[in-house]
Symmetry: C2
Subunit: 112 residues, 2 copies
């Protein structure tokens, strides 16, 4: 999110969903609302810091809805807004592509 104007839709979309985690979080919320801890377990490898940071951003973008249940211990549920769902839908073909070519992708020699 560094620019204000875009040349094409892909540009804008990449800006929204960019980074290492947002797409995966979106994906995890595809089926159902999840609470923080569930989400953390669902998006394997993510740290708490990253998870919250990304959730906050996505909330501010209007992709994710955050619902606090005032209980003890606390319960906070995250779910997709319609906007978030529409983005998720747009990501499906990409996910399918990744799945289809998984082996090829894993076989790519990495320098980094």
């Amino acid at each position: 999110m560094k620019k204000r104007t875009y040349n094409c839709g892909l540009d804008a979309a990449v800006d929204v969903v960019g980074g290492k985690w947002k797409a995966l979080i979106l994906w995890a919320l595809h089926r159902e609302a999840l609470r923080f801890g569930e989400l953390k377990r669902s998006v394997s490898g993510i740290s708490e810091k990253m998870l919250i940071q990304q959730l906050r951003e996505m909330e501010s973008y209007g992709l994710v809805h955050r619902e606090v249940h005032h209980q003890v211990p606390p319960k906070v549920e995250y779910s997709l807004t319609e906007f978030g769902q529409s983005l998720n839908t747009a990501l499906i073909p990409l996910g399918d592509w990744g799945e289809k070519h998984m082996e090829t992708i894993e076989a790519i020699p990495r320098t980094r």
Copy 2:
């Protein structure tokens, strides 16, 4: 490209197309092969360093084909492989989404 195994296709795809530029370069090559200079003009804002760096990576991933015409001044054409085209196709819905919600996206208040 930091991991070797993925939990879902989206994970893998994001790894391949991740970063600020790859999707845009792919997109630019959608219609026709372009030479270095054309590509640079086509992907607005990109520096030569980034463009080459990304092209080299994408070439090594098998997404892009590089063809040198031995002339003076030099002419190098870049085009999509079938693999690259398939990825591009998978990106179309995302591009459409971005286009459709462009105004919303641009209206998001940015902290960074």
